[in-house]
């Protein structure tokens, strides 16, 4: 169904949204959070998504992460029409291509960091030894060696965020989606996380799409997409003149 071979065709973007809308609720209570969003992201990019609160950033991330479905429009992942896939196909897409870092971490409570991180590998059916090695490597990458057997309640916010990132990257995803990964952290921790994401993008070739409302964080990205009121307001590259 989905082949990484598609990446070799330069013409095919990694992801592409065409006139995507999302309406929450129905009738008089209906609210259109996305009003026709179109943009494309090439493999290897590091994109920051910005915009005021309520502008639809999380909504578009959830759609890109296949956690939610658009009301109308097209979503192409490596040329594949995601909006036509069924639940299980979307789950497999998440399993094999996507890593998602949630704003609220969403780690399993009372579960060690190691077990949290190896969970996606378990669903991939990986054998124990390999699973443990990979989970450890991912924790090493986020600087959490020595904390493998701590549960979320025993970790600081920044450490929990790093566990969440380790869980998202342990499968070596094609696309990493992070919704305000530094939202709950102080500047120093935020810089650490940004360095981590930059490293993943540069050294591991993972395409990163990150929501943030801090311009300082967005500076690390190679491109910034600005949302206002459910529409793309501006789309600037770092080598262009900054706004």
């Amino acid at each position: 169904m989905l082949k990484r071979a598609g990446m070799t065709e330069a013409a095919t973007a990694l992801i592409e949204l065409r006139e995507v809308t999302k309406t929450y609720g129905s009738g008089v209570a209906a609210f259109q959070a996305l009003k026709g969003v179109s943009f494309a992201i090439q493999a290897g990019e590091f994109v920051a998504v910005m915009g005021p609160s309520g502008s639809g950033k999380s909504t578009v991330m959830n759609i890109l992460g296949c956690l939610d479905v658009p009301t109308a429009g097209e979503y192409l992942f490596l040329g594949e029409h995601v909006e036509t896939l069924n639940r299980d196909q979307r789950a497999l897409l998440r399993r094999h291509y996507l890593g998602f870092v949630f704003q609220g971490f969403n780690l399993l409570a009372r579960t060690t960091a190691l077990e949290n991180v190896e969970l996606p590998l378990l669903y991939r059916g990986m054998a124990v030894a390999e699973r443990h090695a990979k989970a450890r490597a991912a924790l090493d990458l986020v600087g959490l060696i020595g904390w493998e057997h701590h549960t979320p309640a025993e970790l600081s916010g920044g450490q929990q965020q790093r566990v969440a990132i380790a869980r998202a990257i342990v499968t070596n995803p094609t696309l990493l989606l992070a919704d305000e990964p530094t939202g709950n952290l102080d500047t120093e921790r935020s810089e650490e996380i940004m360095a981590l994401l930059t490293g993943l993008n540069r050294e591991h070739g993972i395409t990163v799409l990150m929501v943030t409302h801090e311009a300082q964080m967005a500076r690390h990205a190679s491109r910034t997409v600005h949302f206002v009121d459910g529409l793309v307001h501006s789309d600037t590259r770092a080598d262009e003149v900054p706004a």
Binding site: N62, G65, L67, D68, V69, R87, D88, A91, L92, R94, R95, H96, L98, F100, F102, N106, L107, L108, A109, R110, T111, E115, L119, P120, L122, Y123, R124, G125, R167, T171
Partner: protein, 406 residues
């Protein structure tokens, strides 16, 4: 592969939520154990009563002076029976196999330095057949001894044990009410009667000897009870009717006078008693079913309280790429594992409790496999239902909805 994964995930889920898991198991254990134990004890009681009533003799009709509607209600004065009533019934009523006259008086009985207080009963050799007694050793007294009024006696096990402990009493002389009486036989034990009396607390001697030497001066000719054994091929209610008619005639009762004696039929007693215990068993079963329900509601509560947390977790699992079926399998395995573990533990507990209580209460252990299975299935399905259904609802949501669940 998928199954082993689900098993591993289920084990981790149980380990993480040890409290929830143990409460679920506890709910099931209580339900299963209560139902099985109560029904087992109820069945044991029914069986014991049935056995005791049949030990009385299967087709037995008992005639007593006075009208006694219920046990405990005092009998108004009524003339006692006489020994010739026995012959009259044997001749006058069809289908009678044997009739034994019975007269009893509590007496202190002694042998050497031992003594006990026990009812001493005068009767005829027909008593053995009527009462369905077997001998442990020796013999019953003969008709000739009855006619001659010889001082020979047969002991019940309780009396034998108190006076002679383990030695054989045959040929020994015991003393009561100033007479000395030779022991010729010992009865086999019958245990407690349906009314809770010790049937082995008994000494039998010929009625003639009893009337002459044990009975008080005033009641010398009296016979307290007539016990009639009915032939198997004859309906006891017919015999009851004939005996009633005969006794009314012999006691010269006018048609407008009511009976001054009563006639029971053990079949009727047995039926009454076993229907009573059946009702009791049903009642116990109902009480147990309520505890099953309470256990079930407990499980439901635990599951409903944790439904938000579980829904979010399922959302997380779905978000990182779990298929709906994988999540379902995991929770199904968890629910089935907990429920069947609880069920087995409950059965084990029930076996121990029933065995212990049955022994303490002197009841036979009557295990009903159907009840064991039923209790197990009902509580296991409660566990599976409440463990699995909320998980299934969550697994069918879009991941984002499950994550947002409040």
């Amino acid at each position: 592969m998928m199954f082993w994964n689900a098993l591993l995930l289920a084990i981790r889920e149980i380990r993480r939520n040890l409290m929830r898991a143990s409460l679920t198991v506890l709910g099931i254990v209580i339900g299963v154990a209560a139902v099985i134990t109560m029904v087992t004890l109820g069945n044991g009681a029914t069986e014991m009563i049935t056995a005791q009533v049949s030990s009385l003799g299967s087709n037995l009709v008992i005639v007593r002076p006075g009208q006694r509607m219920t046990p405990g209600q005092p009998a108004g004065w009524a003339p006692a029976f006489k020994e010739d009533d026995v012959g009259a019934i044997l001749e006058g009523v069809n289908g009678v196999r044997a009739v034994a006259p019975v007269a009893s008086r509590g007496s202190t009985v002694s042998y050497m330095t031992e003594s006990v207080f026990t009812p001493v009963t005068g009767t005829s050799p027909a008593y053995q057949e009527v009462g369905n007694w077997k001998l442990a050793e020796g013999r019953f007294f003969y008709d000739s001894e009855q006619r001659a009024g010889r001082a020979v006696c047969v002991l019940g096990q309780t009396v034998k044990k108190s006076l002679f402990s383990n030695t054989s009493p045959l040929g020994e002389k015991i003393r009561f009410r100033g007479i000395s009486c030779e022991v010729v036989g010992v009865l086999l034990s019958k245990g407690q009667s349906a009314m809770g009396q010790d049937q082995d607390d008994i000494i039998l001697l010929p009625l003639k000897a009893y009337q002459r030497r044990v009975a008080g001066r005033r009641s010398r000719q009296d016979v307290g009870t007539l016990m009639i054994s009915v032939r198997d091929d004859v309906r006891t209610d017919k015999v009851v009717k004939d005996v009633t008619a005969l006794m009314r005639e012999r006691r010269s009762l006018a048609p407008n006078e009511s009976d001054n004696f009563s006639v029971f039929d053990t079949k009727q007693i047995a039926e009454t008693l076993s229907s009573t215990t059946r009702i009791l068993t049903a009642l116990l079963g109902a009480v147990a079913a309520v505890s099953l329900l309470v256990g079930g509601i407990g499980i439901m509560n635990i599951m409903l309280v944790s439904v938000t947390e579980r829904t979010r977790e399922i959302g997380t699992r779905l978000a990182i790429g779990a298929l709906e079926n994988e999540v379902l399998l995991q929770f199904l395995v968890e629910a089935v594992a907990l429920s069947s573990f609880g069920g087995l533990l409950g059965i084990l507990l029930a076996l121990l409790a029933s065995a212990g209580l049955a022994a303490a209460m002197g009841l036979p252990l009557v295990l009903d496999l159907q009840i064991v299975l039923l209790a197990f299935c009902v509580s296991a399905s409660i566990g599976v239902l409440f463990g699995f259904v909320p998980a299934r609802r969550a697994a069918r949501l879009d991941p984002i909805e499950a994550l947002r669940h409040e």
